[in-house]
């Protein structure tokens, strides 16, 4: 008899959908999947989807350095409540995750978290775009994704070298695509609304130029490239073509880029300031199509907590970024059927982040990293009730459909009935 049985749910993963109970053993592994399983403890999953835990390839946990906005503990609690069992922590901390020492610090703090925390390493020292960071040293500690996120590697020659060097390490370089010269001084998407609101804009081409360049560098070096938070229609088209050409590229998009347009900036609330910025309806739809047709591999939150003080500044002084971990699932379900949504939120990002051995499947013998979703539950976003330490959600008051009921991390119920257990 097993420790724990998830009873009466509909199991969904990459292998398909089936009505089945899931039994978890004392080691936190999936012991059995099938009808009429019994255990010491039964968790009712009637009417729910039992899915592999979600995997976020793009989370800002802010620790070390910006603990007033988020910590690994609070961010991982938000993640678990959002259905995530693994997050990749972006390296734009203070100091940046650009050495083995900082990687160890994040791994240590992550060991006590409510989900697996996998640090991404910086490509360049201090994310300054000048010298290569010790990629091999960090890779030896298990780092599988490197990025200077927050900024793109501007120097094409340095990016080429980074790709060449990384190609022997079995890791992937991820790019925040933004041509710094063209984007300089901008605070929102350049177009109709920036012109009307008098806010300096960032043209879509600032992103597309670097997507195009990195596709060229991918072709040149043969090394894989992952594109972070694609936000424009032409970026999506460029990646679609690169994939058709057989290049080893992957891509992600954030929920806000298939949900919100630049029009929401008209009230000047910096909660809607984000980088890449919210764009046009054409871009929003193109991102959604890219997610539907397989051009974009994953929904990634770009969860970017900022303190109240930081977001109560004038629009052009406030830092970009919005919360995402607790709302991503519902927003993805708003757009896509549940199987597609879970592919984009769980097993596809698990593959990109090279976490597919631990996360992204419901299968016997695998760690029980699972989430149980009530796809019809409706709820309203109340910033005060979010587990994140920050409140900068752009969805305050929005009614959402689809909610996480339980989350299991290696068999441990870290979320039960929508409540974090620690």
């Amino acid at each position: 008899m097993s420790e724990l049985v998830l009873k009466g749910g509909r199991v969904v993963d990459a292998s398909g959908t089936r009505e089945a109970d899931v039994a978890i053993d004392a080691e936190g592994r999936i012991a059995a999947i099938g009808p009429n399983l019994d255990g010491d403890r039964v968790v009712d999953c009637g009417g729910c989807v039992v899915a592999p835990g979600l995997v976020d390839i793009h989370t800002h946990l802010r620790e070390p350095g910006r603990e007033e906005a988020e910590t690994i503990e609070t961010g991982s609690r938000a993640a678990a409540l959002g259905g995530y069992t693994a997050v990749v922590a972006m390296p734009n901390t203070e100091p940046a995750i650009d050495s083995a020492g900082i990687v160890r610090e994040v791994l240590d703090l992550g060991a006590k978290a409510l989900c697996d925390v996998r640090p991404a390493g910086a490509i360049t020292v201090g994310r300054e775009g000048e010298r290569l960071a010790p990629l091999a040293e960090m890779a030896a500690l298990g780092v599988r994704l490197f990025t200077d996120d927050g900024t793109g590697v501007q120097d094409s020659r340095l990016m080429r070298r980074a790709l060449e060097y990384a190609s022997s390490l079995g890791v992937v370089l991820a790019q925040h695509c933004e041509d710094a010269g063209l984007a300089a001084g901008g605070h929102m998407h350049e177009g109709e609304w920036s012109s009307r609101l008098g806010i300096p804009g960032v043209p879509a081409e600032a992103e597309e130029l670097m997507v195009q360049r990195d596709i060229a560098l991918c072709r040149l070096t043969g090394a894989p490239v992952h594109f972070l938070h694609l936000s424009t229609a032409r970026s999506v088209e460029l990646v679609r073509q690169a994939k058709a050409d057989g290049l080893p590229v992957t891509a992600e998009a954030a929920p806000h880029h298939f949900t919100l347009t630049h029009e929401v900036v008209q009230g000047y609330d910096p909660v809607f300031k984000v980088n890449p910025p919210l764009r046009t309806l054409v871009d929003v739809e193109a991102v959604a199509i890219g997610l539907a047709d397989g051009t974009i591999d994953a929904v990634a939150t770009d969860h970017a907590p900022h303190s109240q003080e930081a977001k109560e500044q004038p629009f052009d002084e406030a830092p970009p970024g919005m919360l995402g971990l607790e709302t991503a699932l519902a927003l993805t379900l708003e757009r896509f059927p549940v199987e597609r949504a879970l592919a984009l939120l769980s097993w596809q990002p698990a593959r990109v982040a090279q976490l597919a051995g631990e996360h992204g499947a419901v299968a016997e013998g695998r760690p029980a990293n699972l989430c149980v979703i009530d796809p019809t539950a409706t709820w309203s976003v109340d910033p005060e009730k979010l587990a994140s330490k920050s409140r900068n959600t752009p969805y305050a008051g929005r009614t959402m459909t689809g909610r996480v009921r339980h989350t299991f991390l290696r068999g441990e119920p870290v979320v039960l009935d929508g409540e974090a257990q620690r």
Partner: protein, 307 residues
């Protein structure tokens, strides 16, 4: 109406109501003692995060003509220098019991943020590149005074539209009142998108000048050269400046306007600025009356102007 943040808060009727009200304050200005008690006991604070002499003085004079108390929060000598946040500053000021904040800030949208934080009325005295509604109102008043109205009138706005809050408010106001507006500027000084702007665009000032009733010149800032928006100010003057020769292309009745401060010799030749058709000082004089009308409209509910 509680705040004046944008010209679009007013609409055509609102603008016309305000211009009619302004007539009363022009009359007040002509009195021996140009003062009415309409806003006695009201407290108006000017909160200017950017240097401005004329707008700040204009608002303070307007408030004093209505017998309001005025406070001037000067950012350069204040707690802001010590790192106080905008929100804390505003809440501190409000705690002193004020009825109206007149705010100028270098960032677009700040008046909207302040309006969401306080109970007092907020008047936008210029936010970044975005809007400067009272400037547009005084421009409208001046044009109505000189030309009798806006129907069938053609107005050219010349210069750095991209970075101009005056241009954004003027376009909204002039077109709301029925004038047709042509923006005249090199492409680098136009907004990246003019979608939704009811205007024409020209890059040929010589072709536009003979057709217009008003030529409105915007201030050209020197730093536009270093941002590679212009090769040089000299080239700007040569291609878009209202030189003495170009001023001759204007119709007999056409007005020359400028929000000030002028760069004589750049966007406008010194001699042109001093021509009778130039109503630039008239604009300044009307500014006080227009701002009195705005303050009265926002704060004077129930009180009689002619007490």
């Amino acid at each position: 109406m509680r705040h004046l943040l944008s010209i679009s808060d007013l609409g055509r009727e609102g603008i016309e109501e305000l211009l009619d009200l302004t007539d009363s304050f022009v009359e007040v200005a002509e009195r021996r003692i140009p003062k009415v008690p309409a806003l006695r006991g009201k407290n108006v604070v000017s909160l200017f995060y950017e240097d401005s002499t004329r707008t700040r003085l204009s608002f303070e004079t307007a408030a004093k003509r209505l017998s309001a108390d005025t406070m001037n929060f000067s950012v350069s000598t204040s707690s802001v220098k010590k790192g106080e946040s905008l929100k804390d500053t505003v809440e501190t000021i409000e705690a002193m019991g004020i009825d109206c904040i007149v705010v100028r800030h270098g960032s677009a949208g700040v008046p909207w943020q302040i309006a969401s934080w306080v109970d007092a009325s907020v008047i936008n005295a210029g936010d970044g590149w975005h809007e400067h509604p009272t400037q547009a109102l005084l421009d409208c008043y001046t044009i109505r005074q000189e030309l009798g109205g806006f129907t069938d009138k053609r107005i050219a706005i010349v210069g750095d539209v991209k970075h101009s809050r005056v241009a954004r408010s003027d376009v909204l106001a002039f077109t709301a009142l029925g004038a047709s507006v042509t923006l005249v500027a090199p492409p680098t000084l136009l907004p990246p998108s003019l979608e939704g702007w009811p205007v024409d665009v020209s890059h040929d000032i010589d072709e536009v000048l003979p057709k217009v009733d008003v030529v409105y010149l915007l201030r050209m800032q020197k730093e536009r050269q270093t941002e590679a928006l212009l090769p040089s100010l000299r080239e700007y003057t040569a291609t878009y400046g209202l030189t003495r020769d170009r001023a001759r292309l204007l119709q007999e009745h056409a007005l020359v306007m400028h929000p000030g401060p002028m760069n004589r010799g750049v966007e406008i030749a010194a001699e042109v600025a001093d021509l009778p058709r130039s109503v630039i000082t008239r604009q300044v004089a009307n500014g006080v009356a227009v701002r009195s009308a705005v303050l009265f409209l926002l704060l004077g509910s129930g009180s009689d102007l002619h007490v």
